[in-house]
């Protein structure tokens, strides 16, 4: 990475948003801008399977109103979303569908495990339940509780926004070949 004072070579091609190394002065400005924009426009895909859904609904509705936090609109297509909320118990029979939804999402993408079941399997330590979605997907934020209170959900969302705003790599990005660049 070039320092802040570096300039793109005169007459060279205009720097792309992906930020070639010579275009350091631009990317250092672009990264925080992108991170800021991403932070306040999270598009969420709720993958809702069990009782935790009740708390997810109340967090989304007027009382707690998650849209105050710049995460207003659930998208019902994974291709239009960048945060996957896994809300509820995931069983092994469902795991391929969850994995597929995750693979269809836009990049960079983040995953939130909502509730104890999604985080570690909850009290269903048995033949049917996946013992935490991080066994099948890289997961960024874990919200404990059975179900978590809306305040806890909002804190989880804010933690995720802070992470996005710092430009930190999502767990997905950390696993890509050549990881090491900042998000963006």
């Amino acid at each position: 990475m070039g320092g802040v004072g570096d300039r793109p070579p005169a007459g060279g091609p205009p720097p792309g948003p992906a930020g070639a190394p010579q275009a350091g002065w631009l990317t250092t400005r672009l990264d925080p801008l992108l991170a800021w924009a991403r932070r306040w426009s999270l598009f969420q895909y709720p993958f809702v399977t069990a009782c935790c859904a009740m708390e997810f609904m109340s967090t989304m509705c007027a009382h707690f109103d998650m849209s105050r936090f710049g995460a207003e609109i659930p998208r019902w297509s994974p291709r239009q979303s960048d945060v996957l909320w896994v809300v509820g118990t995931i069983v092994h029979k469902q795991a391929p569908a969850l994995r597929r939804v995750y693979e269809q999402m836009c990049e960079p993408k983040w995953v939130v495990a909502f509730g104890t079941c999604a985080a570690v399997g909850g009290f269903y330590d048995n033949y049917s339940v996946v013992q935490g979605i991080d066994k099948i997907l890289p997961c960024d934020v874990y919200i404990p509780g059975c179900p978590p209170r809306p305040e806890a959900v909002i804190e989880g969302l804010m933690l995720l926004q802070e992470k996005v705003g710092r430009g930190e790599l999502s767990r997905w990005q950390q696993q890509q070949p050549g990881a090491g660049r900042k998000a963006g």
Partner: protein, 173 residues
């Protein structure tokens, strides 16, 4: 509560009733497997009993008993509000039981569930497949000898993923 019905069954099938008992007003008849279908048909169709509502069918695993499995059927008569529990023993070696899906279409899914969880084969069932678990699943998880820790994932678990190969082959020195 439904002692009357137990007596009717006993009078009609003296050889079939192995045992009866009552617990807090609920009567149970344990019947021989050979006569199970006839007893249930009698309970459903005879005007004196008219147990026309199929409430539940499930199974119990008693690892130390012979026969090991017990299929448990709950019936109710709409008109008289009487209830009756019918049990039939199913040995492990010949894990079969007559199907009731010809009497009540509702029995279809209950028997598929009992098959899925305990491996009891219901003879005469039109479509005996797993109902809750996936087809790849091996074994029957509610049997007491199914290992408690055994998991059968469909996608690879990340903890079990093989370690990444080293980026460059090591050179001999």
């Amino acid at each position: 509560m439904s002692q009357r019905i137990v007596d009717l069954v006993r009078a009609r099938f003296p050889q079939a009733v192995l045992e009866t008992h009552a617990f807090r007003g609920d009567d149970t008849v344990v019947v021989r497997r050979e006569d199970y279908l006839e007893v249930v048909r009698f309970l459903k169709d005879s005007p004196g009993t008219a147990m026309d509502f199929f409430v539940d069918l499930t199974c119990v695993d008693w690892p130390d008993r012979k026969p090991r499995f017990e299929v448990v059927l709950h019936l109710k008569a709409w008109r008289s509000s009487e209830r009756l529990r019918v049990k039939v023993g199913v040995p492990e070696e010949d894990c079969t039981c007559p199907s009731l899906s010809g009497l009540w279409p509702a029995a279809n899914w209950f028997e598929r569930e009992a098959f899925d969880m305990y491996g009891v084969r219901f003879v005469g069932h039109p479509d005996l497949r797993r109902i809750l678990l996936y087809d790849e699943f091996q074994g029957h998880p509610l049997r007491k000898d199914y290992p408690k820790e055994k998991r059968q994932p469909l996608v690879p678990m990340r903890d079990d993923a093989p370690p990444q190969p080293p980026p460059f082959p090591e050179r001999p020195h």
